[in-house]
């Protein structure tokens, strides 16, 4: 656990290198959203969350994280490996036959750090609410974190869950939305507008925070603020304003790299832009 910004940025840089290499290695996967959410997951696992890489499914006494937008599995796997849940060398098996690192995360392969399967979108907030309620029954004061895509909010189940949590004062829950404005078929504006997200979450009864999602200092600040607001009767949601593909210029600002793998030349170009050389699996 650290609040050293340069150390966190260094980890983020290593994770980004892993992401492009993993997706390149199997020529499939989702680099864009993974790169965009790297800073948030690094901030969670290396600074904000109290967690134990000696993985226990029930996670009693530790903070839990659920990745609802499971397609950004590369960033999740890399962060877990860097945090010590399993050997970084295993990242090279991503999406390959016999791997524990399935295209979308699952508990089925018993990969440490994964507590629920995700990939079919819209389910993670409900699961997180259940886990948060279990913590309350267990008199466990630790927290539950989630991450969702903005496109994922088009799923109706999200709003069932969004209605439930404030009504039942699930105030040990900090959800985050990756607001990058992109989904597979184009911008969220064009595919199906999300409207005023801040106003929507407020209207549902959530305590809403916003942050620059690719700014490590801003993330540490907003996570500290979010944690300070737990236990006050409301669930908390952070709107993370990120850029899909962040860190690799040709992957930024477009939905094209939502689910596309780089070729050899593009990989070299991407790695060239991600300066750190440490930590490649």
């Amino acid at each position: 656990m650290t609040t050293d910004i340069s150390e966190l940025k260094n980890v983020a840089s290593q994770v980004r290198r892993d992401i492009v290499r993993m997706v390149h290695g199997c020529q499939s996967g989702h680099p864009g959203g993974s790169l965009g959410c790297t800073d948030y997951l690094v901030a969670l696992y290396f600074s904000a969350m109290k967690h134990d890489p000696k993985f226990n499914m029930d996670g009693i006494g530790e903070d839990l994280f659920f990745l609802s937008n499971g397609h950004i599995s590369p960033v999740f796997y890399s962060v877990l490996a860097h945090a010590g849940y399993f050997d970084k060398a295993e990242l090279a098996t991503f999406r390959k036959l016999g791997t524990r690192l399935q295209g979308h995360p699952t508990t089925h392969e018993h990969l440490p750090g994964v507590r629920i399967a995700s990939g079919s979108l819209g389910q993670g907030l409900s699961v997180a609410i259940g886990a948060a309620q279990a913590k309350k029954l267990n008199k466990d004061s630790s927290l539950v974190f989630t991450l969702h895509g903005d496109g994922e909010l088009q799923e109706g189940q999200i709003w069932e869950a969004a209605m439930y949590a404030p009504h039942n004062k699930v105030d040990n829950l900090i959800a985050a939305i990756d607001v990058n404005g992109q989904q597979i078929d184009g911008s969220t504006k064009n595919v199906l507008s999300l409207g005023d997200l801040h106003a929507k979450w407020v209207a549902f009864g959530w305590d809403v925070l916003e942050a620059k999602g690719n700014d490590m200092e801003a993330l540490l600040t907003v996570l500290a603020e979010a944690k300070s607001r737990t236990g006050q009767g409301k669930p908390i949601v952070i709107l993370l304003h990120t850029e899909m593909g962040y860190g690799v210029d040709f992957m930024m600002g477009t939905h094209k790299w939502h689910g596309t793998a780089p070729n050899d030349a593009q990989l070299a170009q991407a790695l060239g832009q991600l300066e750190e050389t440490l930590g490649d699996y």
């Binding site: 839990l64 659920f66 029954l137 267990n138 189940q157 069932e160 209605m163």
Partner: protein
Amino acid sequence: MKKYTYTDKKDTRSGFGAGLLEAGKRNDQVVALCADLIGSLKMQDFIAAFPERFFQTGIAEANMMGMAAGLTIGGKIPFTGTFANFSTGRVYDQIRQSIAYSNKNVKICASHAGLTLGEDGATHQILEDLGLMKMLPGMTVINPCDYNQTKAATIAIAEHEGPVYLRFGRPVVPIFTDPDQKFEIGKAWMVNEGADVSIFATGHLVWEAIQAGEKLAEEGIDAEIINIHTIKPLDAEAILASVRKTGCVVTAEEHNRLGGLGDSVAQVLATQLPTPQEYVAVNDSFGESGTPEQLMTKYGLDADHIVAAAKRAIARKTK
């Protein structure tokens, strides 16, 4: 033919309610969720006893299934309650990803299954739920026959590690099993030993099968009747042992003939002991409004239809 008489008539969902209360008393990790159907699922006694262990989700079944999966993370044993239609078809993907594939210890408890929901009609009368649930890897599928057995099954599944689908109904049916029975998941129950035809029944059709057996006995036909309360894992050993003796089969269920108990039995027999088989099931159709009794007759699920099916099966055997 063994004589079975009933002590009382009661709905199986009340057996669930009584079982849930008992399971909650035995293990404080047991929790319950309901999507705005507390009365229909008979959950009020559990809620009165353990208010802090109950979660009212409102009319939001997908969220309920996800929450149930999440509650297992932390050691809880969640029982979800809603109608069978909304417990399966409506939330198939949530069950598939967050419960079955994630191997979460959730008990999906489904009331008002099948035609005997009656007057509400086809929108609510799911006849595909056993098929949907048995196709999910790792899912245990149970369909008990009366109040006592539903209660016993509810208590038993709390002690079973892994996802379970427990199906029961609304109608008031005879109670003919032991109040203190031990419910063994996956172990078929021999109702009556016989020599001429095997009748494998599930749910409240077990009572219809018993009545059919008595009618067949009057005509000198000796039927073996087995209660297949666990559709998955299926007790193939009991099925094969019975068929070796009788040489023909009738399956009886309140379900579409596609994908239910009959197909599970057929798969065992086709691969291990090909045998003439007749289905008593709904013939690939939706239901309609009517009283449960009217619907059981119209859709061919009552004792008389089992008798006719048994005779057809025996006729095929002697060819």
